[in-house]
Symmetry: D2
Subunit: 349 residues, 4 copies
């Protein structure tokens, strides 16, 4: 059985394991105050072109989301998110457990438009009884979104400008950020994100690391407070160096860094899968340019592929077809994709 059901089914890129072994007996302080974390911070600030940025390392995505949300918002504020947003659907109410409501806006493609954000914000403040409803305090976007779509720099810029003019924080969930930034047609860089967002993170878990998310933020209040918030939310890793070592390994080398190479590999394998489906005239639900592809398959087609491959059923497409998700990753082997493409070609209509 070959697994295409997610992008966290293997360990880490061997270079990561090597780095961990190499540094294993060096003695360092804990909690992310070691020289490896410092080096990784510097590398990230270099990527972002801003020496003043705050960078902290967390183990996982839900932790990163909740810590940022709770550190930035006031107790009576909520987060504007697409209804399909990870924080709204797949985190067991973790943001609500810190007291913050998700203000979920409908989204056909997993993304939010400036239009929607505006409408939500303005309808709140124009309501004379606005204090009876949750005050919007932050806009949460994912890049790429839950289904692999990306924002353009123009879109992100206008959302950012709107947020800044209206006292809304802008936070970008980057659990799969590498795949987004390296996607064909993506015109956003780490430096853009650092400039346009109050906080975003560079996801390691799904792009070559054993685990880890690097949270980058410009907000000054957050510099002072974020480490408290990390500890309070159980996210302060005792051997914080493990995160620094990994991110230094992934991001060293500027635009040639391992992180980008791994992401590019996954994307290009994903595009081969997409083309195989398209050549077979199988409809793609969403024109994803990243490492997740969503063909609409009949039950019969699913049954055939399920004999050799694991993939995820994502939802209903129409009467006869389901949307299914095929994921590639930094670890996907090209011969496995060859085999899959071959089997796609043999599918019945």
């Amino acid at each position: 059985m070959i697994l295409f059901n997610s992008d966290y089914i293997e360990g880490a890129h061997p270079a990561i394991l090597d780095a961990l072994s190499r540094t294993n007996f060096v003695q360092t302080p804990g909690y992310g105050e070691d020289k490896y974390c410092e080096e990784a911070r510097e590398i990230i600030r270099e990527h972002c072109g801003n020496k003043a940025l705050g960078v902290q390392f967390l183990v996982g995505g839900t932790q990163a989301n909740v810590t940022v949300i709770d550190a930035l918002l006031r107790s009576y504020q909520g987060v504007i998110s697409a209804d399909s947003g990870h924080i709204n659907v797949h985190e067991t109410g973790a943001p609500e457990a810190t007291g913050h409501k998700i203000i979920a806006l409908p989204s056909a493609d997993g993304r939010l438009s400036l239009q929607q954000i505006k409408q939500c914000y303005e309808s709140h403040w124009s309501d004379p009884a606005h204090e009876h409803t949750v005050q919007p305090g932050m806009v949460y976007l994912s890049c790429p979104a839950e289904n692999g779509l990306i924002y353009t720099k123009a879109e992100l810029t206008e959302i950012s400008q709107y947020c800044r003019s209206n006292g809304l924080y802008l936070f970008v969930d980057g659990a799969r950020l590498g795949y987004g930034l390296q996607a064909e047609g993506c015109d956003i860089t780490l430096a853009d994100l650092a400039q346009l967002c109050d906080a975003f993170y560079i996801g390691g878990t799904k792009v070559g690391a054993l685990f880890g998310e690097a949270v980058v933020f410009s907000d000054k209040e957050m510099h002072r407070s974020f480490r408290y918030a990390i500890k309070q939310h159980g996210g302060m890793l005792a051997k914080g160096r493990l995160l620094g070592i990994q991110f230094a390994e992934l991001l060293r080398g500027g635009t040639d860094c391992l992180y980008f190479k791994l992401a590019k590999h996954a994307n290009s394998e994903a595009m081969r899968i997409r083309r195989a489906f398209e050549e077979k005239n199988i409809t793609m639900w969403i024109p994803s340019v990243t490492n997740m592809q969503f063909p609409a398959l009949t039950k019969e087609q699913q049954k055939i592929l399920a004999e050799k491959y694991l993939f995820e059923v994502w939802g209903k497409y129409d009467e006869n077809r389901d949307i299914v998700r095929f994921c590639t990753s930094w670890a996907t082997r090209s011969d496995a994709v060859d085999e899959l493409c071959n089997d796609i070609r043999k599918l019945p209509q």
Copy 2:
């Protein structure tokens, strides 16, 4: 500089790194539902002599504490703890952030007595206005306590019995459990803990793992709910296998397992340090039998040792002396301890 300031200043035992490398490209499901976690669970149940126990793996201690507390308690219940307890002092209010007050009882040596627990519980329920105060719902102990002392099986048994007769959960923080269980004079086993507690954990971070705490629990409600609580508190590791692989490696082999060997090593090095101080007639604050030792040193003595060694100042002992902490660990080198002992012998009075 040789570091004796904590027990998480290196990476992991090489066998752990080997195991991670060996399994790196095996494809598994995420979130702790893989075969490595299953194996580790079975090994732990074997140690505990109880096939029905629940076992879940978390990354760190604060996370483990908060998740257990919040999963078990009702919203209006609090936790009885020594005032020096980790949850009361060093977790940035993490339990309170989930809504639960710590009912802190004074403790000279870091441990709680049955007497104190009883007095606290009975004074709550005999207060006619008891609903104006937080209802005690759980007793939290650390084994070993913050300063290295352990409980006897008799002490733990009578606390357990009292808790069970009175509807209190008993939860043991085992961040340094290995060092406690392998201490000279400790008559408690993993099987005892599994029988006497509602929940406890086997700390990996400080005893040879890269990170990880294995939470063991018998409470049935918890079986159903604990994985929700983990996810809600941001503790669900995507590549949960990393925890299973480590704990299997540490605990495989019954009483001969690596975990116990590493703990024994650290304890015996710590006892050498203790003896060196005692032979010098330097007072030990607390008769610790585990990997942390607390001599009372003058400023001059501290200054001399600080030239070569890092240790932690723990508090005031008397007018002229501070309590300082020397920590050994699974990674402590015997020649480093030789050197330290030698330098202790040369200290002025």
Copy 3:
């Protein structure tokens, strides 16, 4: 200006004020443990035909909702509610502030169907990754719903049965319960609610009291815990007697009690307003049988009525018309309704 914009724009029925004056200098214990609260509890148990029910008095509706939700649910559980439910829209995220997500289901008419509840519950448990989403723990209904519609006894019974078979709490928000129970066609009684729900409340604030909601519950765990939850959520009124005195006054006298008389009056005045609109061929958005009526009015019609009356704009009906809300209450004067009906008759089409 005559106000029809809500049902809490006056003080209280004079009998309430008289009762408060009459008892003013009697000395009693605080916090709802006085003889007046005891009397009111007995009267309510009599109405419900169940001597074993728990009854506690709270000041307001949001407080009642949050206290019940947080007292009953586990930390990782959420509440199934219509998306228009008061707890989802108009409580500034109060339930989320206690950690519980609202699982909001779309509802055209403000009510939930068994179908929807079932679908939501089953889709949760059939999801293999269910612990990544909030566990449904309670169904929240309002009676009447936010727009004045009621449930039939048959509907409520089948929802109750489903909840009981599946470990879901059933909680009915009764902020306007009197108006619901006394509506034409309502076949539900207080005794039915006490039997079918785990908790519900009898709203006083909007039906003749100065303030106050009487929470009735059958759940045994709640008996023990609810007063803790009240205090923790800031809802324990020092002079609890004020609530007991009011509810005794409102509910004394069985089916002839003041509470029911006041509700009937408001409903009958509301039906006069409805008929006036209908006779004018003005469309009613929803066939409300309670004290809130929702005609679809043109801007011109609104402008004319707004000269003499205050009412609330509820939303858009179509291109040319808005839904507006007219509220009657226990205090609505019949001559004011005469005048309004007269002015409705003179409206342009």
Copy 4:
């Protein structure tokens, strides 16, 4: 039986009930946005000599405490309080339920000294691992303290200055403020409080009102946010006018207002009780100058007085004596105090 066990055992001063009756059928908007609340706000600002102050009305003290704490603090901040502080002992963990730890400092007499606050604050920030502990964000004082003692203006001023220089909020719990301000020797005024604190409240419940606490604050962020926080914590009274009407009635008239007269009456009756005990050579635990008096009584003395009077046992004084509390209030009848003093004179030694 005559009750001296608390100061909330009767209803309200008759003038309050009259005012409620007089205004009963006036139609007003809800939620504290009516003309009575506006009037009360103006009266309070007049007392405080500051037209820019924010004033909001809440029903009870726990609610007021929690709402202020949660509205002002960041999620990782806690509140410095005397260990006997109401928020630490008698609110069922309400502040913790909003996520904020109480940093409890030992206090023999219920008050905090600048010394203690300083020591706590400085030891936090001088700890290199400060982010592992709760960040002090606010100082909470009660005036009078739980046992009736007051602060001098000089004490309050130096605490206020320290707080302002160090970014700590200063919040004064004024549940019994009237009794404090009118105590012999008190040199603090409402204007002083308004100038020295970030927030404080004027307690109505215990000083003549049916219920109600008027929260006064100068913090600008709070102006914008406090009404959200009130609603989120279930404290937004639908008929907010009830609070405005009461506070206008109590505070109208400057230094001659009803509120001050009622407080003076209670204090002077309390001093009569104190003198009666002192003349009998019965030790007073604390030299309280307000409406609570704490004699140290033998069991026999208690038994004799308990035949006719209700009072509260507060704690142990020594081997043979308990501290008991006698409370007077705005409603205490002078002939009842005559009778009590008479009976005190007849007590055995």
